[in-house]
Symmetry: C2
Subunit: 455 residues, 2 copies
């Protein structure tokens, strides 16, 4: 039957009345994921109090479901041995995540030392951040390939893992190499004289323990698998990754990309104060402000050199067009790289295409806006100083064309270069491209004006 779920206001009502016993009874019937949601919605004080009242089993399950920023919150003043006990009750991959989520590395090491079953966990913590090794669980059901099927069945019946088991992995008894996998159904439907080897699918997708999680996620999506064995450099089975971990990765990466694009770090959480949020978002705003002031200087010079105030009124239009064009081409490039859509493709071609598209759009927009400006200035009979309406229209149109062409190539070029250098393209490209485009747009406009005035 569907899960019971306590609403936030009911929960707050119980807390207000001090009826913790009723609250804990209600939580007993809830899914840990719902309890975690509830805890996240409570204010910090109530959250800590409620979490402390949970029994160890529930606390361990709920802790796994909490979003990273809240983990530190609830375990902050928890004794090391209590936390080690909670970690011992988790699947190894969950314990690794909780330990890496802790801000205090010393505490994390103490908890690890205090765990009874720390072997798998400390092994996994040695793998790189965001690698398959940290994502996998070491809880795999594997047997020698030559095992009689009857023996496999018996072992399977007695196997009681944390997560449901759907595949049996077959190992070469001599080399320890992974040979293939058999579904539980295949194990139970094979003939009685068969060995595990006879029930195997040998055509399986696997990943390497050092493979990047984003790359593993791409494989999951591409080959439509739900579970993937993880092997070491000798093709020995070391763990498995399941679809639920991958769904979290996909969610996380999308969040990170978007956050990087707009310069709003995704580590914000609902209970952060406006002041904390402002501080997190401030760095890019400072860069933008600095660029904006440099821009003011450029425009000031433009006015001084040309002695034509009318030129200044078109700066925002040219900047906005360059900015959008650059944003579009960088977003398309970043997504393309991140999702491996360009697996079979040469990236050089992409730049050429983005530049061509940018120049085409620039040509159209430049011609349209130039004509509109000429028409407008002529109809209103505005004072255009040293430039007549036709030349002013041509100047603005040409500047728009140049800045859009530049922005589209720059927007494609930066993420691709970062990617080649091994830097996540999304992290640096957004703010960097936007600010550069703002500055380049006014510099280009300045140059075009200067050229038009001279000739």
């Amino acid at each position: 039957m569907p899960h019971v779920k306590l609403e936030l206001d009911q929960c707050e009502h119980l807390i207000k009345n001090g009826d913790w016993a009723a609250l804990l009874r209600a939580i007993q019937d809830m899914d840990p994921a719902d309890t975690a949601d509830l805890l996240e919605a409570l204010d910090a004080k109530d959250r800590e109090r409620l979490f402390k009242l949970l029994d160890s089993e529930t606390a361990s399950e709920v802790l796994v479901e909490l979003d990273a920023p809240f983990v530190d919150d609830v375990v902050d003043d928890m004794p090391t041995d209590k936390l080690a006990d909670l970690a011992d009750r988790m699947a190894p991959d969950d314990a690794v995540r909780i330990l890496t989520d802790l801000d205090d590395e010393e505490k994390s090491a103490e908890v690890l030392a205090g765990m009874k079953a720390s072997g798998d966990v400390s092994g996994m913590m040695r793998y790189g951040c965001d690698s398959a090794g940290q994502l996998m669980t070491t809880e795999v059901f594997s047997m020698a390939a030559d095992c009689p099927i009857r023996q496999v069945r018996e072992a399977l019946v007695n196997y009681e893992p944390t997560d449901p088991v759907f595949y049996v992995y077959a190992i070469d008894a001599e080399t320890g190499k992974l040979l293939g996998l058999a579904s539980v159904k295949a194990v139970f439907t094979a003939g009685l004289n068969a060995t595990l080897r006879d029930a195997l699918e040998r055509d399986y997708v696997h990943c390497h323990v050092n493979e990047d999680q984003e790359h593993v996620a791409h494989k999951f999506r591409k080959y439509d698998v739900w579970v993937m064995p993880v092997v070491d450099e000798n093709h020995r089975l070391v763990g498995r990754i399941t679809a639920d971990d991958i769904m979290d990765v996909l969610h996380e990466e999308a969040d990170e990309d978007l956050a990087a694009m707009v310069g709003a770090p995704d580590i914000e959480r609902d209970e952060d104060s406006p002041f904390a949020i402002a501080r997190l978002r401030f760095p890019w705003l400072m860069v933008t402000m600095a660029a904006g002031l440099v821009n003011s200087i450029i425009i000031k010079s433009l006015l001084q050199v040309t002695a034509n105030a009318t030129l200044a009124i078109f700066v925002p239009a040219i900047m906005a067009m360059g900015g959008n064009t650059g944003m579009q081409s960088s977003a398309v490039t970043i997504r393309g790289i991140a999702l491996g859509q360009r697996a079979y493709n040469r990236l050089g071609g992409l730049i050429v295409k983005e530049v061509s598209a940018g120049l085409l759009m620039g040509l159209a927009c430049g011609m349209i806006s130039g004509s509109v400006i000429w028409l407008f200035l002529t109809v209103t009979g505005a004072d255009t100083g040293t430039l007549n309406a036709v030349r002013l229209g041509i100047t603005v149109g040409a500047a728009m064309f140049c800045s859009m062409g530049f922005a589209s190539s720059f927007g494609a070029f930066v993420p691709m270069t970062l990617n080649r250098l091994g830097i996540d393209p999304a992290v640096a490209a957004g703010p960097f491209v936007t600010t550069s485009n703002d500055l380049s747009a006014s510099l280009i406009y300045f140059s075009v004006c200067f050229f038009m005035l001279r000739s």
Copy 2:
């Protein structure tokens, strides 16, 4: 063993030499997903030729793996009966996807009519777009709950589905309602005198056939499940959704969000010509251009009213700050809504928080930039016309403060309002918010200047 994979240049080499036989032999050993990648990377002519040469079984598997824009390409001039044959070989959910991907609705209806097993497919096509009903497969293994376990095992042994089976669903024989599910392992490890009912997990997560796919994806992530039964309004089992479909949904939604944010439609594909790309991205550029020209008029009026050209040079800085602030708060709000992070939360609180953060950032940025401008103008001894350096600094700082405060509230308000109105917040918020912020920033600046001059 790992999959064989033909590289693009090898493939192009074979095509150039006209060695189609060798190419088809290589494809026989490849995973359909890799073949689809290869087809997508080829140019349109070669793609169509190669696809036509595939045998029906392979063609059907590859078609399922092709990205939406390419589906139309390869089946464009394929006879209806051939296409119906391919669709007949697919799982019902894949057939639905292919049929909905076709641009030509008439052709889609003809293909459906020509299918031998069109029952499930036409049933599913009646469900809403992006609903669980269109995402699910009707291929489920269900039996009456009172069935002896021996009988369930026999049926399971003889069951040969397209996708692997991991759960048996138990149905109430009288009402047809879904009672629970049993893992294959539970079926094979239950006692011989048991019925299916004894092996059931009754505590399962399900979804409704009309539920939105994004909501279903959220449930998958939250409850860490790999397969979810889909029920109708009477809680009767109508299908199941698997993790691989959900991974596609997560990917798709993230892509759509990002594309909407920057006004670059995600239906672009590698082989689109720069002209086609330009046309797709043009709408938002036209909006931006119109706004830019309106902005020019506002600045022109500002110059006329104040007769102070120096005021114009700060417009880009104020606009960039407002733009970034709005982008940050709209991105955070959109992601928050899309991912259901605010499930337990009141959205009103979010607006208050975003506005407060915006005002705080505006206060800091306004004060800093105002001081910098005052200092700069004083040191360089620039001509500031009717306003002295102090008042000019205050004017720019105040305008920045106001426009950032407005932008942050507007950036949070628009997606939330759209969401309440049942419109996808990501689709309209990006371009709309950016353009509005550009315009509002210069209007605010105009008003502040006007006010400062009058007093």
